[in-house]
């Protein structure tokens, strides 16, 4: 008895000792910096005055938040961020689902096809954005070349630098946000493998007997998907939606590299970067980052509230 107790205590000591390096790194490099952002957001601090000011200033001001909200383009960038992350996540998950269903049954070369489909996700984002920009370039990109040859485009489309273009649909002239749709398409291309991977794993765990029973009862493929597979996949899709939404909402690399935030694609994270580097305003950048985090927290909270109870029932 006493022996077991001492073993437990030595386990507890060893556990803490083994985890402590990680804990120290995470606390000092992640947790404290985040708390510090809150302090910074309430201070009038710029990169120029950083050298003379202390790490924890004593001035307290709400000016930064006022500037964030009143600065031109605030509401617009918020809306852009929302549209980008909702459409980006939805299309990535949609394409991922189609991909998972497509390669579900074994065929020759399936492993290779599966690996190829993961490439957009693992490839360096800088290289991927550079190739896309070149492919869609109005002057020497092959898309515009073939678009004007084969599809009869009147003039090359500047996919990443044109804010909007007129498209005639069923006799109606519709204004389309070209650059925004292009970055969403890129997001779908780059992130669908993530959804594909998780949905694929989930599909393989669906018991074959379920579908077999439905088949014996005469259910057609679409019915089997709608009433057998989809209910099995929904929890995974719900989790993927949250993960993808959080990441897309905050993503900086893709848009910064594709458009630099121009042509109606300025998302909030690009604003944070601009406030920090172009203006050198630390307080303003912190406040903008906090606003971003707060909005995200509210949205995710609402989502969890609405959907979490339903998941438990199924």
């Amino acid at each position: 008895m006493t022996d077991r107790g001492s073993l437990k205590r030595s386990d507890a000591r060893a556990g803490l000792a083994l985890i402590s390096p990680t804990l120290i790194i995470v606390v000092f490099m992640v947790v404290l910096p985040i708390l510090w952002t809150v302090v910074l957001a309430f201070q009038p601090l710029s990169l120029l005055t950083l050298a003379v000011s202390g790490l924890f200033g004593t001035d307290f001001t709400l000016d930064n938040f006022e500037t964030v909200v009143t600065e031109p383009g605030f509401v617009g960038s918020l809306a852009t961020t929302l549209v980008y992350s909702v459409l980006g996540s939805a299309s990535a998950i949609g394409v991922g689902l189609v991909a998972a269903l497509t390669v579900r049954r074994p065929f020759r070369g399936r492993t290779l096809v599966r690996a190829a489909m993961l490439l957009p996700y693992v490839a360096p984002v800088v290289a991927a954005t550079f190739v896309w920009r070149t492919m869609l370039d109005p002057q020497f990109g092959f898309v515009n070349h073939w678009g004007s040859r084969v599809l009869g485009w009147d003039e090359p489309i500047a996919f990443f630098t044109q804010q909007s273009s007129e498209v005639t649909l069923l006799g109606l002239d519709v204004s389309v946000p070209t650059a925004l749709l292009s970055v969403i398409a890129f997001e779908a291309w780059r992130s669908f493998p993530f959804a594909f991977l998780f949905l694929m794993a989930r599909l393989q765990a669906v018991p074959a007997s379920l579908e077999e029973a439905a088949r014996v009862d005469g259910a057609t493929p679409t019915q089997r998907f709608r009433y057998v597979l989809l209910p099995q996949l929904l929890p995974t899709i719900a989790v993927l939606s949250i993960l993808r939404f959080i990441w897309t909402f905050n993503s900086f690399d893709d848009i910064y590299l594709l458009t630099g935030g121009g042509a109606g694609t300025e998302v909030v994270s690009v604003r944070v970067y601009d406030f920090l580097t172009a203006r050198g305003d630390i307080g303003l950048a912190s406040a903008q980052a906090l606003v971003l985090a707060a909005i995200l927290a509210v949205l995710v909270g609402v989502y969890l509230r609405r959907f979490a109870p339903q998941e438990e029932k199924t």
């Binding site: 386990d11 507890a12 000591r13 060893a14 556990g15 803490l16 083994l18 985890i19 390096p21 990680t22 804990l23 790194i25 995470v26 000092f28 490099m29 910096p33 985040i34 952002t37 910074l40 990169l47 950083l50 790490l55 189609v98 497509t102 096809v113 690996a115 190829a116 489909m117 490439l119 490839a123 360096p124 984002v125 800088v126 290289a127 550079f130 190739v131 070149t134 002057q139 020497f140 092959f142 070349h145 991977l197 694929m200 439905a214 009862d217 259910a219 057609t220 493929p221 019915q223 929890p235 990441w247 905050n250 900086f252 590299l257 970067y273 920090l276 630390i282 912190s286 980052a289 985090a293």
Partner: protein
């Protein structure tokens, strides 16, 4: 409501089915359509995912004049292949090149350093979280998951300010510390899942034979977890090699310290450097990742989805 649908619809189908022509039932039509659609989709997915990489390689061996004259060409004849782009992008800036060799050295230093440090810290941590009962174990797991989900743009501001203040911004060491702190939580999460699958009885029998905790960890658990450790190391390497935001924030003013990602992104904006040369740079940036990925695809995908299958 949905439940009755399942039962009734197929029944309707059967009763309405004309007995003389069983070929045109809904089931048969759908089977045939999806049978064809499947191959169309597989071809489509292959094209869409692979083509950009093919195009990257293609442009990197064509001359700029040829590209401008015929932007739509999707093939290059072997006689027209030019490899000058690669020598131009690799040679140092002083010799008139773009200095990607130096960028590669920087990237490799940071990436290998991140792998080593992360594993050094994460392995004991993952073992502790998986095996040892200690105070606050659950809270620590939750904290790590939160860190994993935490957006890096939020961390960018305070870390930028802090490293400027202590004078480590502009050094590879600063970047290395940031990478380790960002990745270590994910790494622990992946490794823990693997440790959980190793039967504890193996360790107990070693303990009965007189092994200490550390001895058990070193002699039994570590060798058994080797596949997971390798996969995890490769995963960390890929993240560090691909990373862009912090490299941009920390190193942009110091050209000698640029990583390949940063170098390519900075030079891509310049008009003087031909696109074909930069494509060669893209290939150089991408090839190590593709090689690692295909060498370890199975290990990696298993590691990535290990958490998903449970939930």
């Amino acid at each position: 409501m949905t439940a009755t649908d399942v039962r009734e619809r197929p029944g309707d189908e059967r009763s309405r089915r004309p007995p003389t022509n069983p070929k045109w039932t809904r089931d048969a039509v759908e089977n045939r359509v999806f049978g064809v659609l499947r191959w169309v989709l597989i071809a489509g997915f292959l094209l869409v995912t692979l083509f950009p990489f093919y195009y990257m390689g293609l442009l990197s061996v064509r001359s700029l004049d040829a590209v401008i004259q015929d932007p739509g060409a999707l093939w290059v004849s072997p006689s027209e292949v030019e490899l000058d782009t690669y020598s131009s992008v690799l040679t140092s800036e002083e010799s008139g090149g773009q200095g990607f060799l130096d960028f590669m050295r920087n990237s490799a230093l940071v990436a290998f350093g991140t792998v080593l440090l992360t594993l050094l810290v994460a392995l004991p941590g993952a073992y502790a979280v998986s095996r040892l009962e200690f105070f606050g174990r659950r809270q620590i797991s939750v904290l790590f998951l939160a860190v994993y989900l935490f957006p890096s743009i939020l961390l960018a501001v305070p870390l930028f300010v802090f490293f400027t203040k202590v004078g480590l911004r502009g050094s590879l060491i600063g970047l290395l510390i940031v990478y380790v702190s960002q990745i270590v939580a994910v790494s622990i999460y992946m490794l823990r899942n693997y440790f959980d699958t190793i039967p504890e009885s193996l360790e107990e029998s070693a303990a009965l034979d007189g092994c200490s905790r550390l001895g058990v960890m070193w002699r039994i658990s570590l060798p058994l977890a080797m596949p997971a450790i390798v996969a995890n190391g490769l995963f960390v390497f890929m993240i560090a090699w691909n990373e862009f935001l912090f490299a941009l924030l920390f190193l942009v003013e110091e050209r000698e310290q640029w990583t390949v990602s940063l170098g390519l992104s900075q030079l891509a904006g310049s008009i003087e450097i031909p696109t074909t040369v930069l494509m060669a740079g893209s290939v150089i940036l991408t090839v190590p990742i593709i090689v690692i990925f295909f060498a370890s695809e199975r290990l990696l995908t298993e590691g990535l989805t290990a958490g998903a299958e449970k939930g």
